[in-house]
Amino acid sequence: MFVKHSRLDRFMLALNAAFLTLAVLIVILPLIYVVIASFMDPSVLLSQGISFRISDWSTEGYKMILTNPAMLRGFANAVFYASAFAVLTVMVSVCAGYALSDDRLKGKGFFMTLFLFTMFFGGGLVPTYLLVKNLGLLDTVWAVIIPGAVNVWNIILSRTFFKGVPNELKEASNVDGASEMRIFFSIVLPLSKPIIFVLALYAFVGQWNSYFDAMIYLDNPNLHPLQLVLRSILIQNQVDPGMISDQLAAAEMKRLSEIIKYAAIVVSSLPLIIMYPFFQKYFEKGVMVGSIK
């Protein structure tokens, strides 16, 4: 591409390649370590660390995780919360974004300011909690899904998208006598698949990975999403006693708890890691659209 590279440039490029390789290694080595450790025989892992002898491998950790009722329930709950949240967020933001992109909407500036203000200032944790409590949402799935459903950033994103839809399209259908509702549903919405997809993807991933709302609003363990179950396994070191049969001694519990942690990390991250390479370009698109003011 370039006419010529000086020796200094070539040296710089080599250095660049070395640093990038280092960065990639720093990022992926811990992940590889976790995956390998999760397949280790628990006693070998505990006594000598990672080994590469085939006889030292085992799937005991995965058996524990995949037969653990709390983990499975958490998984199912997380799928439900993430899907429901994604659907709700997309509906709310796309509708609002569409309305705000239309020049005929009076008071647009006022509404935008109303939304934008909440990006920088909020009532805080305790007043929000009290509100959710007073609305009777505590310990219901709605507490996790509804309060976060309006996201100003998503509204801006979809407004930017709809501004790109040519006005002539709407006007032409208007002349043909189509109602506003018809124009939105049969003309604009089919064109909006990209933005719907991007927003849904972000919302799903965000909800899948979050634990905070569930932690403060949900007492009932049957409603706990995956991340809360993970928190008790990984951080509070509470391996569910039901996971390991009661006769086994505390030593066995300790022996298995390490391997269970590794397996739990892999199992919980797997869905996103698998889907991520396929959707990488959409994620990038989301960031790019969001950066346009």
Binding site: F2, L13, A96, F120, L135, Y211, I216, I235, V287, S291
Partner: protein, 297 residues
């Protein structure tokens, strides 16, 4: 009326977002007045006695105040200073990778940790840094004894910030990578012919291209300086690292939701939000001055 009849559909479309915002964003702002009251849940927000700035004074004069306030400031300030340049460096380096396929693959790896949940990231920290974990196995070779990383207050900030960089730097570089992709290659060719070396070209062509974006990213990051994540700090807290790990958000959670001191907790939270808004406005103003009028607003 005529107008509304004709365009009611637009308002109908706007209403779900509007109603949810009024309830769940403005509702708590109204609720925040309990910070100025001796709040009793039985008497409600309106029925409780006004106490003026009592709850704020209580916080400002409490022995915890200085520690928690400084912890919050230090964690986010050092975090900002250390993590802000990394995505820029990554983007500049990625921009030098000529083969598109290679570049895509590097990006794929660098972005991956962004999709790992904070619970898992902190879980990995506990495993990796435990006395018997892999990092300590390396350390034991050198120093002979394991380091108690997670329970020692002096390591908390480093672990927090470095793991944040590990998780987010690659992802944060996307925006710079995209901006750099728009640089006309002819500019680089011409500069090359004029004898500019790689570093000079980066300095005089690449950097000026991404400067406006750097300013915006910086303003947003600096504006959020007091609103650093509760989620991660709370998970990383251990009984013994509290001297550096207790920050305003975790304190608000503990006194508010765990101890039930609603009014006091609301006051601390409000204090935090107000400082945050002031910071955002100050930084925006300053950057605007330095950056030839290019600010966020």
């Amino acid at each position: 009326m005529e107008y509304f009849k004709k365009h009611y559909f637009l308002y109908l479309m706007l209403s779900p977002a509007l109603i949810l915002t009024l309830i769940f964003k403005y509702g708590p702002m109204y609720g925040a007045i309990i910070a100025f009251k001796d709040f009793s849940p039985i008497r409600g927000i309106l029925g409780s006695e006004w106490v003026g700035l009592y709850n704020f004074e209580k916080f400002l004069s409490s022995p915890n105040f200085e520690v928690i306030f400084m912890n919050t400031l230090k964690l986010s300030f050092f975090g900002l200073i250390l993590s802000f340049p990394v995505p820029i460096l990554l983007a500049l380096m990625l921009n030098q990778v000529r083969r598109a396929g290679v570049k895509k693959n590097i990006q794929l790896f660098l972005y991956a940790p962004n999709f790992i949940s904070v619970v898992v990231v902190v879980g990995m920290l506990f495993i990796f840094l435990s006395p018997t974990g892999p990092i300590n196995q390396l350390f034991s070779w050198i120093t002979g004894e394991p380091v108690m990383f997670m329970s020692r207050p002096e390591y908390f900030r480093w672990i927090y910030i470095l793991s944040d960089i590990w998780t987010g730097a690659g992802w944060a570089s996307i925006i710079y990578v995209a901006a750099l992709a728009n640089v006309d290659p002819e500019l680089h060719n011409a500069a090359n012919l004029d004898g500019a070396n790689l570093l000079q070209r980066i300095r005089h062509i690449d950097l000026p291209t991404i400067r406006p974006i750097m300013a915006i990213v910086f303003i947003l990051a600096a504006g959020g300086i007091m609103s650093i994540g509760f989620e991660k700090a709370y998970l990383m807290q251990t009984a013994t690292n509290l001297p550096t790990s207790e920050i305003i958000p975790t304190y608000v959670y503990k006194i508010g939701l765990q101890s039930g001191d609603y009014a006091y907790s609301a006051a601390v939270g409000l204090f935090n939000s107000i400082i945050n808004v002031i910071l955002l406005l100050t930084v925006n103003f300053t950057v605007k001055k330095l950056n030839e009028g290019e600010g966020l607003y």
